[in-house]
Symmetry: C2
Subunit: 206 residues, 2 copies
DNA sequence: ACCTGAACACCGTTCAAGT
DNA sequence: ACCTGAACACCGTTCAAGT
């Protein structure tokens, strides 16, 4: 039975580079975990290789021993975030509700880490959410869109989501959960507007 | 007769803070102008107060004598860019085509300055394009939207535009004009999809 | 193999000192 | 009033040196 498929829970990153049973080693997971904490509190702009090292209680060089640079670290962070996105069941609801809940999950996952979406948007080459994109594409194709329609719909949805994440949620430290909820609701309403436009586009094609 | 109203052309910034006839003074306009050149070539990330001062052939402190800090400079740059946006005539075409051409002008103006849209998105408090927002609001109200509908439509369009600007156009130095045109076309198609959804929303209200 | 910490080449911003 | 340039407090990244 095809149910909702979330991937994995917390900081899971690639294969184990070092045996975690050994005491005193600093794994990639620990670095990514600490990075999450800092980004949550101070945003991506507040994430500093020095601050990160201090929180891990190691020297600056030790962090660089596990992670080649800050960008690579943020790629790992993004990958981990994507693994938390919940993919809706393919047999429940129409394509619109499936796309709606998938993208709402994306926003929920990313909106808790200020500046992350902005960083991802600026580095789409390295950090594109391929699973999400492929799922969206499949969903639209199953809904009998043709290739060109899928392309337009995907780009439109994509830019709408990116815009909300970058512009809607304060990129700096926003301790106001109330405003986050308001933007979330606004996003959901606007998403339905966009999906409505996509549907009309679909009807024109058939 | 209400025709297309562009504001002013190139680097025009506020009132004159110093008499430009005096030799040897460095006006705010000169700083903003040099900033434009650098952003065009190197993006906002490549704009450095030192590089800017070097291009103006003055010491670092001289730049800070005219402009309080880098953020304030970018606010001036944004204001100047907004003045280049072309506002469509209110008596030609329907509301959809008016919104379409206004937002296309916004994209045209901002897409030439890599990283600028991303910076604006992160500092909406200081840098919101008020004229554009007000014009959009009036256009939608004239098209018989109610207050709530206008709000949703505005937010949706806004986020879509922001997403395209931040994600669609490479934020770094993109010497490929071909890809810029492709993204522009894609934006225009997606914008029609969004406007289509907005129109259906309007019909539901009436 | 893993970690340390000084060092390098940058930033934005400030400010005493000059003209 | 306007400008200079050294100085401060940061960055990301590197790398000889230790264990």
């Amino acid at each position: 039975m095809p149910t909702a498929t979330s991937r994995q829970p917390a900081p899971t990153v690639s294969a184990e580079p070092t045996d975690p049973s050994v005491r005193g080693v600093m794994t990639e997971d620990m670095i990514v975990g600490a990075a999450f904490e800092i980004i949550e509190e101070c945003g991506v702009d507040g994430l500093t290789m020095r601050l990160l090292s201090a929180r891990l209680d190691v020297a600056l060089g030790a962090t660089y021993h596990r992670v080649p640079n800050k960008h690579a670290l943020l790629v790992l962070v993004a990958k981990d975030l994507y693994s938390r996105v919940e993919f809706p069941a393919t047999d429940v609801g129409d394509w619109k509700s499936q796309v709606h809940s998938l993208l709402l999950s994306v926003v929920d996952v990313l909106s808790g880490y200020p500046g992350m979406a902005a960083y991802i948007s600026r580095h789409m080459d390295d950090m594109a959410p391929v699973d999400v994109a492929e799922t969206l594409q499949r969903t639209l194709l199953d809904a009998s869109f043709d290739q060109e329609g899928v392309e337009t719909a995907l780009a439109t949805l994509f830019f709408y989501v990116a815009g909300t994440l970058v512009g809607g949620f304060t990129t700096d430290t926003s301790p106001l959960d109330a405003s986050r909820d308001r933007v979330r609701d606004q996003f959901a309403r606007g998403l339905d507007v966009v999906l409505c436009g996509v549907e009309v586009e679909l009807q024109d094609e058939r």
